[in-house]
Symmetry: C2
Subunit: 217 residues, 2 copies
Amino acid sequence: MHKYEKIRMELTRRINSQTWPVGTSIPHEDELAAEFGVARGTIRQALSSLVEAGFLEKKRRAGTRVAYPKDHASTLRIALVRDQIEQGGHAYAYQLLDDKVRDGVRHVLCLHARDRRPYQLEDRRISLDGIPSAKQADFATISPNEWLLQQQPYSRVETELSAATPNTHDVKYLDLKPDEPVFLVTRETYLDAIWLTRARLSHPASVYSIRMDSAFQ
Amino acid sequence: MHKYEKIRMELTRRINSQTWPVGTSIPHEDELAAEFGVARGTIRQALSSLVEAGFLEKKRRAGTRVAYPKDHASTLRIALVRDQIEQGGHAYAYQLLDDKVRDGVRHVLCLHARDRRPYQLEDRRISLDGIPSAKQADFATISPNEWLLQQQPYSRVETELSAATPNTHDVKYLDLKPDEPVFLVTRETYLDAIWLTRARLSHPASVYSIRMDSAFQ
DNA sequence: TCATTAAATATGTATAGACATAATTAGATT
DNA sequence: AATCTAATTATGTCTATACATATTTAATGA
């Protein structure tokens, strides 16, 4: 175990045991460095992850304080749907439902299944200006989702998570129970100012949720 | 603008312009340090945020490669519901609906409103073993959510996001439209191995969604 | 040929020092 | 007393160097 990890654990312990209650200023980096017998850089490395996780707040000149745990940050990774399914030990299947071009936008509808049951309906729009190679792409075997990831970098992603009543496509393809809502992930990606693609990913509420686990040993 | 910021921007440019296409190895840290005329530590600082955002992948001895953009990470911060509402310039109101103790668990039901309309129904369970001071807390004026944040640190948070059909309490208090689903945030916090509290936060789907915006200039 | 072992190497950790910068505090001026 | 100014200070950035460590690559031996 590295020095900064040991120090981080000890600092975490002091926070959790309320040795340093919420709101108090903790010793300066130089003092901590002296206490633990390490260089200031090592202290800074130990502090940085605690700041990132929202347990500490730093301000120049004012020092470092134990943060009120509101606004706690969690890192969310939405993986490729195929990986999501296969990593859970399930069978993945893909099916193209519709594919057309209009106004310089390729519009694709396809279905991702888990163990032969509908899992995600992908309603995808791709800018042919932004991604010219999308004109020739064959989405019969590879999903737009997966194809896009191999193609093009992007600089900005906007993601929205919501609950919704199913639209007509959802009803038709997702095999929903009576009154079952859908969980929506809407994602739009840009390269600088250029719009590249938009995805509406709908899932039966009974089979899909997003879990986050932000922990500190 | 600092050196590492300039360098990060230039590296970002090379990735986005496909000067360094996805999958390629970028120059070693020492080479980049020589190219930009800075110390290796400065290069590492520039790289770290790109690694964190998922644009680069590092591996010892193997070097640094441009990552396939699957599994792109976003940092999600779920703020205090009152802040959420007030920061949007809306009026916040709080109302206690029910409050009882059973089997060492305090069980509170309360409603958070935005502009006099139901926004979040908070179904809260607090362990009186884990948080003894919760016995005396008065939730008539302050919500458990807010009270807890001022009280107790925690070391682990499990969050689950899902869509669901409303339960009887949701129907009674959330003023839902016909067939409107709810967006659920379920949150459980622990201090080491000790269970502290569990919250079921339900929202009318029409008024609530979670947005994330992961950008790089 | 194949498995094992040893060398090479790029990133990871740590140190010690210098200077920059934002924010506070104390002091000077009106 | 109120306002502006200067000193102070804790964090932020940067350098230069040394060694540690995970992985790959090359060399060795059965």
